[in-house]
């Protein structure tokens, strides 16, 4: 654990996590700490194990060794619904949008405490509509008809429809136009201000630099560097060594 994260209360920690998928050994002892009320970026090349790490946290794949602790509770062997029920919202790489449902139905589904749209927190919805106007504009439209950027906005909007302790998002900027990426950055910046703890996987370094408080870099199924975003952004040699490029 880096000195920077030690200074903050840790909400989520992974210790020596190994994950196998079938015959493949993907994670080789991941150590990761996500400080409370901070935005942690998980960076790394393709195939480094970032998505597997997120899926292991969510219980979609189970760790074969090691420990995952969330808010003081060991969730290593817990089932996905139990983990999500601890107030963790997850946006997968493919966004997980229910294409045959309307935008409204997608949002209602994510609002676990609401049986009907009328039961949803209207003030929070208004805030979400300001963050992502497309969600309001296409409220009654089938989600499958939205563009890629609009789907990503819906996926994030769905994840924050109710307050959650931790928001996990896998590559929110993937395949999006620069204007929509800026919109997304603004949204995450506002979310940070609400004190939500966020764990983002990103390949877009500019995105990461603008938002990240902390950073963990993965390679070959391990976290090979953890520290502050600023520290990494200011050290070109480190960037080259870890990511093969300069931020």
């Amino acid at each position: 654990m880096s000195q920077a994260t030690q200074q903050h209360d840790v909400l989520l920690s992974l210790t020596g996590v190994h994950t196998h998928i079938g015959a493949y050994h993907i994670l080789h002892g991941v150590d990761l700490s996500v400080p409370r009320s901070q935005l942690t970026m998980l960076l790394g090349r393709n195939g480094a194990g970032k998505t597997t790490t997120l899926r292991t946290i969510m219980g979609l794949w189970h760790a074969s060794q090691g420990q995952v602790v969330f808010d003081g509770q060991d969730i290593t062997a817990a089932e996905t619904p139990h983990i999500a029920g601890l107030d963790i919202a997850y946006v997968p790489e493919n966004m997980g949008i229910f294409s045959d449902l309307t935008v409204k139905e997608n949002m209602l589904l994510a609002a676990r405490s609401a049986k009907r749209v009328q039961h949803m927190d209207s003030k929070r919805l208004e805030w979400i509509f300001k963050l992502f106007p497309a969600v309001e504009k296409f409220w009654n439209h089938p989600a499958g008809k939205l563009s890629g950027g609009q789907k990503q906005m819906l996926a994030v909007a769905r994840a924050i429809v109710e307050p959650r302790k931790l928001l996990i998002v896998d590559e929110p900027s993937k395949g999006l136009a620069p204007a929509i990426i800026n919109n997304m950055i603004d949204a995450f910046a506002q979310l940070k201000q609400t004190g939500t703890t966020i764990l983002l996987v990103e390949q877009n370094i500019s995105f990461a630099k603008r938002l990240g408080d902390h950073v963990a870099v993965m390679d070959n199924g391990k976290v090979v560097h953890a520290g502050t975003m600023q520290e990494l952004a200011n050290n070109e040699d480190l960037q080259h060594a870890l990511l093969g490029l300069a931020i």
Partner: protein
């Protein structure tokens, strides 16, 4: 599916089929009789198939043992209605309904309870393994049939229509059997109830979402396995209800009747799009109409006709008339 994006084309298939065969049948009164018979048969098949398509859609489970719940429902009805002979023998419709209604309820309850055990001991050990699912659920059906023989005997049993439900109503020269009209009404009621649950309730929303992406539903914090067990039990209960309706339609029940109907059900859910309840309704009506029209026009090809219908639909829409997105 949103009203803004409703795909209406599949809805015209059944009317098109009905209009297409009219010149071949010739007599309008015969056509009306056959059409009502086809719709009645279609609605009974829909009652049976609706649960199966959701079971497949939600958990990717191929349950070839669904037919056993049909036979079980029908046999339970012979017992319940047999014990209410005074009521079924009455010429007053309300007294007949007082006999049929509890028979339906008991059949649904017994089929649902057996469905719960079937899911726990037969289906659950083979989640995610299609070949094993096919083999073990077919085995489950064979065992179920044998158990039915142990309880009710191997011979076919008569399930006569209650007195007031026999006979026909006449629309001009067209004779429309009263029971077939009743089957249409019950089928529509089941469809309306399913449509309401699926379209207007949070449970329905979860089922529709689960059919598309069960992993994401779990990631939102919902226990989809519990939902699946619920759908399996309801689907089994509906098959039991369908068994009562089918038994009364045929007026005899045999332990093998479920296996015979199974073929039609799988044609229906493939035509409809695996996991689609609306598609199952369209598929059921098409299969019911086709079976009756070809039974009249060309009995020798009647068995083949529904296979041909399925092939034609799949050439048009390879995923069925209402494919479930993301599958």
């Amino acid at each position: 599916m949103s009203k803004l994006n409703f795909d209406w084309k599949p809805l015209v298939l059944a009317p098109l089929l009905a209009l297409f065969v009219l010149p071949f049948i010739g007599s309008p009164s015969t056509w009306v009789t056959l059409t009502v018979a086809g719709l009645a048969m279609g609605m009974i098949i829909f009652i049976i198939a609706s649960g199966l398509t959701l079971v497949f859609g939600l958990m990717d489970v191929l349950n070839f043992g669904h037919g056993v719940f049909i036979a079980l429902g029908a046999f339970v009805a012979t017992t319940v209605m047999g014990a209410m002979g005074d009521w079924t023998g009455s010429d007053q419709l309300w007294r007949n309904l007082v006999a049929v209604f509890p028979a339906m309820l008991v059949a649904m309850a017994v089929a649902g309870a057996v469905g719960l055990a079937f899911e726990r001991f037969i289906v659950r050990p083979v989640y995610g393994q299609h070949l094993k699912q096919i083999l073990i659920t077919m085995g489950g059906m064979i065992i179920g049939e044998e158990l039915i023989k142990v309880v009710w005997g191997p011979a076919q049993i008569a399930l006569p229509l209650p007195d007031a439900m026999r006979g026909s109503l006449y629309l001009g020269d067209a004779a429309i059997e009263k029971y077939r009209l009743m089957a249409v009404v019950v089928g529509l009621a089941v469809f309306a109830l399913l449509a309401w649950v699926l379209g207007r309730t949070k449970i329905g929303l979860l089922i529709r979402a689960g059919v598309q992406d069960r992993e994401m539903v779990e990631s939102l914090g919902y226990r989809i396995k519990r939902l699946f067990i619920g759908v399996f039990v309801v689907g089994s209960g509906l098959a039991g209800l369908g068994g009562v309706m089918w038994g009364l339609y045929q007026q005899t029940v045999t332990p093998q009747m479920g296996a015979q109907v199974n073929v039609l059900i799988f044609i229906v859910i493939i035509i409809g799009g695996l996991g689609s309840t609306g598609g199952a309704l369209i598929g059921s009506l098409l299969v019911g109409l086709m079976a009756n029209y070809t039974g009249f026009l060309a009995p020798k090809v009647a068995l083949f006709s529904n296979i041909a219908l399925m092939v034609a639909i799949l050439l048009w829409r390879p995923q069925g008339v209402y494919p479930v997105t993301s599958r």
